[in-house]
């Protein structure tokens, strides 16, 4: 506990400041945790490593958690990893349970964050040794497993699968980058598109275009009537939050937090896969998942505990292999290099004080996040009470700023936002399903890389089935997930036909 004596009030202030700024970044559609850390990285030059890390970890935890606010209240994921929070959070907010949904999300986030920090502290070296057992084949199968969620998320299974494939196809447009081990060639576009689409469509403009702008256009078509905005202010009189909502959800919490931590520690799989996987597993394994997607607290619990589980998980390979687990920790590594600190397999042993400080900062950040969010949420939830004719122009403005800023000022990202906003509107009209499409888009790029790399490395298609016991276990989960989706689909049809008969 020697490290505690080295901590100053500034350390705690910086965590609190980081969490607050992170929450603000996460809450604004188009701004992400990664962006918050990137923007504040230069501030750490003036600080020593301990205080610099306090600030950055605060931003990280705050940013990931803040993403749930627009996801629940506006159906716009604040960060890519809060997509699945929209599935149940927004229906709850529409029923006037926005505050309750947010509180459920905050408690789940705290659980996920603390759970992963403890795992990080106790098992980082062991877990990183386990993580390196996952080669291209296993990573592909994990992404494939996450993709199977498409089937169970779809309203119409055929259309859902089509939407998912469309998402994968969109994600492949651009260069098969050499920095991913590709051949550097451009594909899936006409020559005139090359100057714009060399790097493909950026995730964030696509995400906020489909969810943010698309939704605004759909709502705008309905017309913004005064009574609609006042109707949406059903803040009281509905079910209030109580901890009893977590009764019977401990398994969900532990499973989802573990999935978040586990996916976070696999470099290259991507944080968004964590919440998608946790959501699928809750849908497949819970006793009653019939309400999921319609406003079930268990969906928010799965999504939020897993995406905060990422925070500790992504630090595992960073601190025990020197490899960042996700895009935010990739920036975090900059704080170390700028201070001349090497991160690698011997980092923990060589820098025990820094290691303890980091885990401690992560834990404190989670509790500070809880304190800030839980008590401020009453006011934050009132966002839904803002008249839409004021709210929507602000959302559009924030989306545009976020899209322009995400890659340091590329105008094509703003056009991408508009294109996908209009596409989201048209998709709604023709029945294309947005959640499967965006999941396909997020996971498609990594799926391709790991699929191609597996074949390049092993030269045999059968390797996907025979590579290792881990691969076989993952196939088991994939088949179960698909079988469950088919079962749900058939059950739904039977229900529909029996209702029609009566």
């Amino acid at each position: 506990m020697e490290f505690l004596s080295a901590l100053s009030p500034l350390f705690f202030l910086l965590i609190a400041f980081g969490v607050l700024v992170g929450i603000i970044f996460g809450s604004i559609p188009g701004m992400t945790a990664t962006m918050a850390v990137a923007v504040c990285l230069p501030l750490t030059y003036a600080l020593d490593l301990t205080n610099g890390l306090a600030l950055l970890l605060g931003l990280y935890v705050g940013g990931i958690t803040g993403g749930m606010v627009p996801a629940i209240l506006l159906k716009i994921p604040g960060t890519p990893s809060s997509i699945t929070t929209t599935f149940d959070g927004y229906p709850m907010a529409k029923n006037g349970e926005g505050e309750r949904a947010l509180k459920i999300g905050i408690v789940a986030s705290l659980f996920g964050g603390v759970f992963s920090a403890i795992l990080l502290f106790l098992f980082a070296p062991v877990l990183s040794d386990f993580a390196i057992k996952f080669s291209y084949v296993e990573k592909f199968l994990i992404i494939f497993l996450a993709l199977t969620v498409i089937a169970s998320l779809s309203g119409n299974m055929l259309m859902g699968i089509f939407s998912g494939i469309l998402g994968v196809w969109l994600s492949l447009i651009g260069t098969y980058d050499i920095s991913d081990g590709g051949n550097g060639e451009i594909r899936l576009m006409f020559d005139f598109m090359e100057p714009y689409l060399e790097s493909g469509f950026s995730l964030l403009p696509v995400l906020i275009g489909l969810f943010g702008l698309g939704t605004v256009l759909i709502e705008a078509e309905k017309g913004v009537k005064k009574e609609i905005s006042s109707q949406s202010l059903k803040m009281s009189g509905q079910a209030q939050f109580s901890m009893s909502v977590f009764k019977g959800k401990l398994t969900n919490l532990i499973r989802s937090s573990s999935i978040g931590t586990f996916v976070g520690m696999l470099p290259g799989v991507g944080g968004s896969a964590a919440s998608v996987l946790a959501y699928t597993q809750e849908k497949n394994f819970s006793r009653d998942s019939s309400q999921m997607g319609k406003g079930a607290p268990q969906g928010i619990v799965a999504s939020e505990s897993s995406n905060n589980g990422l925070t500790g998980g992504a630090l595992i390979p960073l601190l025990s292999l020197g490899i960042p687990g996700d895009s935010t920790t990739a920036i975090l590594i900059g704080a170390f290099t700028l201070q001349g600190i090497q991160v690698g397999p011997l980092f923990i042993g060589d820098n025990l004080d820094t290691w303890y400080t980091m885990v401690f900062a992560l834990l404190v950040a989670n509790f500070v996040m809880f304190a800030i969010m839980f008590f401020a949420i009453k006011h934050i939830a009132k966002v839904v009470a803002v008249p839409k004719y004021i709210l929507y122009p602000i959302i559009i403005m924030m989306c545009v700023v976020g899209a322009y800023a995400i890659n340091y000022g590329i105008m094509f990202d703003v056009w991408t936002l508009f294109m996908f906003g209009i596409f989201g509107y048209v998709a709604h009209k023709v029945g294309i399903e947005i959640p499967p499409l965006i999941i396909g888009f997020i996971l498609g790029g990594s799926a391709e890389i790991y699929f191609v790399k597996s074949l390049e490395s092993y030269g045999d298609f059968m390797i996907f089935f025979t590579k290792s016991p881990i691969a076989m276990f993952l196939w088991g989960l994939i088949f179960m997930s698909i079988a469950f989706s088919i079962y749900l689909h058939i059950k739904g049809r039977r229900q529909q036909s029996s209702e029609a008969e009566t």
């Binding site: 920095s179 020197g322 490899i323 590329i410 490395s457």
Partner: protein, 347 residues
């Protein structure tokens, strides 16, 4: 660790206090200076090195200087659009190696842009093998491929990572003609991918760096992650300029065991191949010569003051300021030498 932090803080704080701003009313650039870099990573050497220089320039020119990690393709595009001197680029040898290897998005940097002053060298480019590998040196690898063994080298194609591979292949071609076919490249992406390929047994040799891989070389041999250096591509003179304590627990003396002349990778049968990863400015082709001179002058002042060298060395960079004309000539010559190597193995 505390020593490093202290040194860096002192260096940064010191530079802020002592450097004399040279901004004048008639300065050829005003407003803000944006430095785009050829990497998208803020954890890598390009960002780290650019930040050190940006901080010093900010004080010297008395203007806001911001480093944006936009990546090579976007950086070149941004530079093409801006000739007013408020946008500049910092990158390394990849900017011409990408062109030599025919990577999309890399034109001839000497024709399409204006190559500016050099600022630093990263001496850490390295090749490693698993600790329990039968190969202890590049000589072992040469013998193995000459005996018909297939040796797989994990690299990211088309740049700094590949030039060392091309040099090894060229050396084998000269010493054991025909055997170079047995040295094969395994395409990979990030350092994490290369390490993973080694852990999975998919690569016998990987490209890495002293900074990223030094800790792996200190692991016990029975650890799946343990590695050992076989070659550092930097010149012996370059490594000699690093701090005596080297990197991590590996001292400068130990690092010198892996450079020329202890490791021989012949370039043409007589001369040894070396590769120093140099960082330099790139400007828009039409940027005013007055701004080029202004930047040369500002950087010369910064390096004369002597504090930036401390900061760079603490971060395992070798200070290497060369004004634009000298830098351009040296880099052109370097490109021509590497072009010959690449062409000889292609033929």
């Amino acid at each position: 660790m505390k020593k490093t932090i202290l040194a860096l803080s002192v260096a940064l704080a010191g530079s802020a206090v002592t450097s004399t701003a040279m901004a004048q009313d008639d300065a050829p650039i005003d407003g803000n200076l944006r430095i785009v870099i050829g990497s998208t990573s803020t954890g890598g050497d390009t960002y780290q090195n650019s930040e050190i220089v940006a901080q010093e320039l900010s004080d010297k020119l008395d203007m806001n200087v911001k480093v944006d990690a936009v990546g090579a393709t976007e950086a070149f595009k941004t530079l093409e659009r801006n000739d007013d001197g408020n946008t500049m680029m910092i990158f390394h040898d990849m900017s011409y190696l990408g062109h030599l290897y025919g990577v999309r998005g890399y034109d001839n940097v000497f024709e399409e842009f204006n190559v500016g002053p050099s600022i630093a060298i990263n001496p850490g480019n390295a090749y490693l093998v698993p600790k329990d590998s039968p190969y202890d040196s590049f000589d072992d690898i040469k013998e193995a491929v000459a005996d018909g063994e297939r040796v797989r080298v994990s690299i990211q194609p088309g740049g700094v990572s590949e030039i060392g591979f091309s040099a090894m292949k060229n050396a084998i071609r000269i010493e054991h003609p025909g055997a170079e076919e047995n040295l094969v490249a395994v395409n990979s992406g990030s350092q994490s991918d290369k390490n993973q390929q080694m852990f999975d047994g998919l690569a016998d040799v990987i490209n890495g760096s002293v900074q990223s891989n030094e800790q792996f070389t200190r692991l016990e041999e029975d650890d799946q992650k343990a590695m050992k250096f076989i070659w550092l591509t930097a010149r012996e003179d370059t490594i000699k300029q690093t701090l005596e304590e080297g990197m991590g627990e590996t001292t400068r003396e130990e690092l010198l065991e892996y450079t020329e002349p202890n490791v021989t990778v012949t370039q043409d049968g007589e001369k040894n191949f070396t590769f120093d990863k140099e960082f330099f400015f790139i400007y828009n082709k039409d940027m005013d010569q007055e701004i080029v001179d202004y930047m040369d002058e500002a950087l010369a002042d910064i390096y004369d003051e002597g504090e930036i060298q401390e900061t760079q060395k603490q971060s395992f960079f070798i200070p290497n300021f060369k004004p634009s004309d000298e830098s351009r000539e040296d880099l052109k010559q370097k490109m021509n030498e590497y072009k010959e190597i690449i062409e000889s193995i292609d033929s």
